[in-house]
Symmetry: C2
Subunit: 279 residues, 2 copies
């Protein structure tokens, strides 16, 4: 809470200049999820970064003239936007693994750059975190879902299975979940209600589509409606948490699980409506 209050207020005129200039060119890059950045992990970095930083920093001399697109080295003088994208990409993995309290020095090392360089792209660590959050957390929601979910030419069971399969694979990933949880736990309210709003949309669409195909009418109260949809949505979300956070050894395949949960949901749907109406 106290940790991220200080908002750096640009003193170095030099950095500010290039910063402002380059920022404009970035507006169109939002959601361009690291299109051409291939650097994912920098090779080295076993795990004990204990070794007294002597003899470290051997990288700069090793990067000869080579650097063909085959050798994924992180530091060879990149243009502003590319480097920024690369940092964001590495930072996503880094903070997902090490938590929001991960150290900038370690992050820089993973990027293959000096720690100081981070501050050319992000005024403070908090800004970097916010950017990561916006790109990775909010960017993981796809608008197509709403289209596909409402395509009544296909049976609803198929649509639900397809959706949740995709949702599990492309959104409820280890990276995404860990970031979301770290952010939620830290009460780092960086774009808090967007997610809730989006998910509520999903819940409503799901309920509407199932009810339509089954020819039943839904209860009025939205809270009740949401809670009913959470029966499925929550079970699947929690499956992902078990898998990626609690690291339970789950023997069934994702597809099996999804199809089971969807089918159970559909099987109990009618009763659920009755039961909740009688309540």
């Amino acid at each position: 809470m106290t940790k991220f209050l200080v908002h750096a207020t640009f003193k170095s005129s030099l950095d500010e200049k290039s910063f402002a200039r380059a920022r404009r060119g970035l507006l169109c890059n939002i959601k361009g999820v690291a299109s051409d950045v291939m650097v994912k992990n920098n090779g080295c970095e076993g795990d004990n970064v204990q070794a007294k930083s002597t003899a470290a920093r051997g990288a700069p001399k090793a990067r000869g003239t080579g650097n063909k697109p085959g050798s994924p080295q992180g530091s060879v003088r990149m243009p502003f936007n590319k480097r920024r994208a690369q940092i964001l990409d590495v930072a996503t993995d880094f903070f997902a693994e090490n938590g929001l309290t991960g150290q900038t020095r370690q992050l820089a090392e993973k990027c293959g750059i000096s720690q100081r360089l981070l501050y050319r792209f992000f005024p403070t660590k908090e800004d970097l975190l916010k950017e990561v959050y916006n790109q990775e957390i909010l960017g993981a929601f796809k608008a197509v879902w709403f289209v596909d979910l409402q395509d009544r030419s296909r049976p609803v069971s198929e649509r639900l299975e397809a959706f949740y399969r995709d949702y599990l694979q492309s959104t409820l990933t280890r990276k995404w979940l860990r970031l979301l949880l770290y952010a939620s736990l830290a009460e780092a309210n960086m774009a808090p209600d967007y997610i809730a709003a989006i998910i509520m949309q999903v819940l409503e669409v799901v309920m509407r589509e199932v009810a339509h195909e089954k020819g039943v009418s839904l209860p009025e109260e939205p809270a009740l409606l949401h809670e009913m949809a959470w029966t499925l949505h929550g079970a699947i979300s929690h499956y992902a948490i078990r898998r990626h956070i609690y690291q339970s050894s789950l023997s069934l395949s994702e597809d099996q699980v999804v199809s089971m949960h969807v089918r159970v949901f559909l099987a109990g749907f009618g009763d659920m409506i009755d039961v909740c109406r009688g309540d």
Copy 2:
């Protein structure tokens, strides 16, 4: 990963002495969840601990002769076991809120004692964390559940509702969930499989009892069986996460939610078995 490797190896003979002596008297105290410790929060501590630590530490002089049981002050010279219990109690709240990276100095302040004193009871911060985890996380599971859940003189719907109501209120609390998540995220493997094992027991009992009352037979494969029970268990767990971690504003009452989920589960149970057998 690197953070909690160093295991302090007792040097101060003085501390070690009283330590060992007092430890024996503690074995019976396990699970004596802070029976007589009333200190919960130390009054002060708004939120910005910014104020340059001048003038702070006003506590010691303020604790006059009074200290009747009415004034919950934390530091008046307690016997070893009591103080230790109090620290554990405060630490639970503290780490649940601030994460496992919370600072010992802040914790000590909340306890109303000096930071140094913590190290008389716990050799390292990691030991303190492990102790908190064992008491609060593992201690939250009740053996009675298994008895009550299998009491076939009552209808299974009643048993399930009663169980999940209690589970939500006494286990899936904010404190418990946050601690578990922080610990899981940190991969701090402090008693990892106990929880999984206990929950699996619950899942199996639930399935067995429902199947018995409904007069259906269960599939063989345990993984499938568990996943079916997770339909209910996961939905409720995730409800708690929404409530306590994502801080969603949930308008329905806990009891309503529990009863809805249980009834839906029971309503769909037959189909679930069929559907999964056909799979």
